[in-house]
Amino acid sequence: MAEVKKRSVSFPRYAEYSCAFKYIVEQALGCRYVMPPALTKRTMELGTKYSPDFVCTPFKTILGSMIESLEAGADTLLMTHGLCRLGYYGELLEQILRDLGYQFDFINLSDYDMSKKKEYIRILRRFDPKVNYARFLVQFMEGLRMVEYVDEVTGEYYKNCGFDATDGQYKRAYQDFLTAMYTAQNRGDVEAGYRAVKRSLQSIPLDKPQRPLRVGIVGEFYTAMDAFSNLEVEQKLADMGVEIHRWMNVTNQFLRYGSGQKNLRVKIQDLSVYDMGPTSTANIWYARECAERGYDGLIHIKSAACTPEIDVMPVLQNISADYKIPVLYLTYDAQTSDVGLMTRLEAFYDMIDMRKKVL
C-alpha cells in the first residue's frame, strides 16, 4: 500500500519560537515542517503589497512570510486565533492568498471553538487522521518546555549581553543554544542544549558596573518580541551597555498565567479596573513594577495601528508622570528604518544616562 503523503506544514515565523513549532510539527504531529525563510525586506514588501493599508503591521509581516513559506514548499498553513484583530487574520490571509492563486490547505484555529476540548482533537486529526494522542501530548509538552527554555535563556541573554567582557562569546553561546533548539530531535537534545547554554552564560566573564542602566520593555505581543519586526531594538540598546528586562513572552503570558491575570491586576487597580485589551494588564503591571524597582526607562513597542496598545499609552503616560520614569514610545510600520530607530535610541540612552548621573 502506498504511504500516505505527509503534510508539509508551515506557521508564520515568530521571534525564536519557530524551533518549538518545528519540534511540535515534526515530533508530535509527525508531519514535515517547512521553516519559513528568515524575514527580510522582501517579506515586508510582499506583505505590504497585498495587505489592506491600515491593518496592523504583523498582518503584513505574516502575509509576506506565508507567501515565502508556500514558495519554499509548504502545502499546509496553520494560523492561530487571538483576542484582538489577530483572531480575524486567518480568514483574510487565506482569502488574499487564494485570490493570488496559491494552492494550499489552511488550518485556521479561528474556525474552531477553542474553549471546547473535543475541538482540539478535530484539529489534530486534520494534521494526521491517525494521530496518536498520547504520543502527541508527550511531544507537545516537550515542545512547550523548549518554549520555556528559549524564553528563560533569551531573558538572561538580553540582561547581560551588553556587558560581555570577551570578544563576543556571550552572543555566540546564545546563538549556539538557538541552533541546538532548531536542530533538536528529542528531549535529550533539548535538555543538553539548555544545560550547555546555562553553563556558558554563567562562566563567561561580564564587565558590568554596580548600578547599570536598566530598561524595561513593554508592548504588543508580536512586535515587542520579534527581533526582526522591532529592528533588534533589544540588541541595539543592550549594545550601548544597558540591562534589558522584558516580562512579556509566551511562557509568562500563556504558560504561567493563561487567561487569568487577576493576580496581576491587584496592584494596578487604581490604573485599570478592567482588562483593556489582550496584553494590557500584564503591560501596565510590568511598567509599574519597573518604575517601582527604579529602572531608568521604559520602552513601549507596538506596530502601527495596534488598537489595544494605543489604548494602554495614556496609562503609561500616567505611570511615567507618577514615578518620573522616561518612556520611549516606538511604533513600527513597514517603512520604519534602522537609522531613524538608532537616532531615537541614542537620544534615549543619552537622556537616561545623564539622568542617572544627576539623580
Partner: protein, 310 residues
C-alpha cells in the same frame, strides 16, 4: 429631606448611537436624570484630538471630546466596558479599554465615571446582570434595577424595530439607492457619516443603512459572508449587505480612520461581494467636505454610467 436626583452624563459618540434608548430608559426608570453632550462640532473634535493619542481612531477622538464636554456637568459619566456577547460576537478591543482610558485621561478632573461590564466569554456576564450590578452601585435594589433593565431593553428593541421598518420602506421607493455600511457612530455622527448621507440626499440618491436590519437574522447571514468574523457590529453589517445587496445600486463602505475591524472586514467585503459597485470611503479629521463630495459625486456617476443613465 429631599434626595438629590443623580445626574448621569451620556457622551454622544461611540455606543451612544446603539444604546441611547436603553441607557436613557434605564436611568429614567430608576428615577435618575440623563444629560447628553451636544452633537459633534468642530470644538468637540479639536478637544478630543488634543486629548487622544495621535494614532487613535477618529471615533475615539470624537468620543473623548464628548466626555470632556460632560466633565463637571453631571455626577457620573457613563463609560461602559462592552467586550463581547459570546464567541465570535466581540466588540473592537477599544470598547474594552474605554472606561479605564477615560479614567486615565481625565484623572485630574475629579469627575466620577460609571461603568458596566458585558463580557460573556471570559467573565460570563451578560448585559442584564451587568445593568443590575450598575444599578446596585448607584444605590438601587437588584429588583428595581432588573425591572428597569427589562423595560429599557424592551424600549430599545422596539425602537430599533421601528427604525428597521422605516428603512425597509426606503427600499420600495423608486430611484437610485445606495447602501451605507458603517458603524452607527460613524453613520450618524454629524462630523462623519451624516455629511455623506446628506450629500447623497441632495444628489437625489436614497441612502439606506446596512446595520438597520433585524440583528439576529443579520448575525446569521453575516456568517455566510465571513464565517470567522468576530465582531458583532461587523457581522450585522455583513448580514445587512448579504440581505440587501440586490436591492441597491451601490454600496459605500464608510469607515473612520483607522478603524481596526473595518480595515480588515471592508477588504474582505471588496473581495467577496461581487456584482455591485463598491466605494471604500475612509473619513479622517479633515475639516472640509470637498474631498468627500468629489468622491461621492464620481461614485454616483459610475453607477449611472453602468446603468446606462449617463
Amino acid at each position: 429631606m429631599e434626595k438629590e436626583i443623580i445626574k448621569i452624563g451620556l457622551p454622544r459618540a461611540l455606543l451612544y448611537y446603539r444604546y441611547r434608548v436603553l441607557w436613557r430608559t434605564f436611568f429614567q426608570e430608576l428615577g435618575m436624570e440623563t444629560v447628553v453632550s451636544a452633537p459633534t462640532d468642530h470644538a468637540i473634535l479639536e478637544r478630543g484630538t488634543a486629548l487622544a493619542i495621535d494614532e487613535a481612531c477618529l471615533s475615539l477622538k470624537i468620543y473623548l471630546g464628548h466626555v470632556a464636554a460632560l466633565v463637571g456637568q453631571c455626577d457620573y459619566i457613563l463609560v461602559p466596558r462592552v467586550s463581547n456577547f459570546g464567541r465570535h460576537r466581540a466588540m473592537c478591543t477599544r470598547f474594552e479599554s474605554t472606561p479605564d482610558l477615560a479614567r486615565n485621561v481625565f484623572r485630574n478632573s475629579g469627575q466620577k465615571f460609571l461603568s458596566y461590564e458585558v463580557d460573556q466569554e471570559m467573565q460570563k456576564t451578560g448585559e442584564e446582570d451587568a445593568f443590575v450590578e450598575m444599578g446596585k452601585s448607584l444605590g438601587c435594589t437588584a429588583k428595581a434595577a432588573r425591572k428597569a433593565y427589562k423595560v429599557a431593553k424592551k424600549a430599545e428593541l422596539s425602537h430599533h424595530k421601528e427604525r428597521v421598518q422605516r428603512y425597509e420602506q426606503q427600499y420600495k421607493k423608486d430611484g437610485m439607492k445606495v447602501l451605507i455600511a458603517a458603524h452607527s457612530y460613524v453613520a450618524e455622527d454629524p462630523y462623519m457619516g451624516r455629511m455623506v448621507s446628506d450629500y447623497l440626499k441632495k444628489a437625489g440618491v436614497i441612502p439606506v443603512r446596512a446595520d438597520m436590519v433585524d440583528r439576529e437574522a443579520a448575525l446569521k447571514r453575516g456568517r455566510d459572508l465571513s464565517p470567522t468574523c468576530k465582531w458583532e457590529i461587523s457581522r450585522e453589517i455583513l448580514g445587512g449587505i448579504a440581505m440587501h445587496k440586490e436591492d441597491v445600486d451601490g454600496i459605500i463602505l464608510l469607515s473612520a480612520f483607522p478603524c481596526g475591524p473595518d480595515a480588515m472586514v471592508n477588504e474582505l467585503i471588496t473581495r467577496r461581494v461581487k456584482g455591485v459597485p463598491i466605494l471604500n470611503l475612509v473619513l479622517d479629521s479633515q475639516s472640509g467636505t470637498a474631498g468627500v463630495e468629489t468622491r461621492l459625486e464620481s461614485f454616483i456617476d459610475i453607477i449611472r454610467f453602468q446603468e446606462g443613465k449617463l
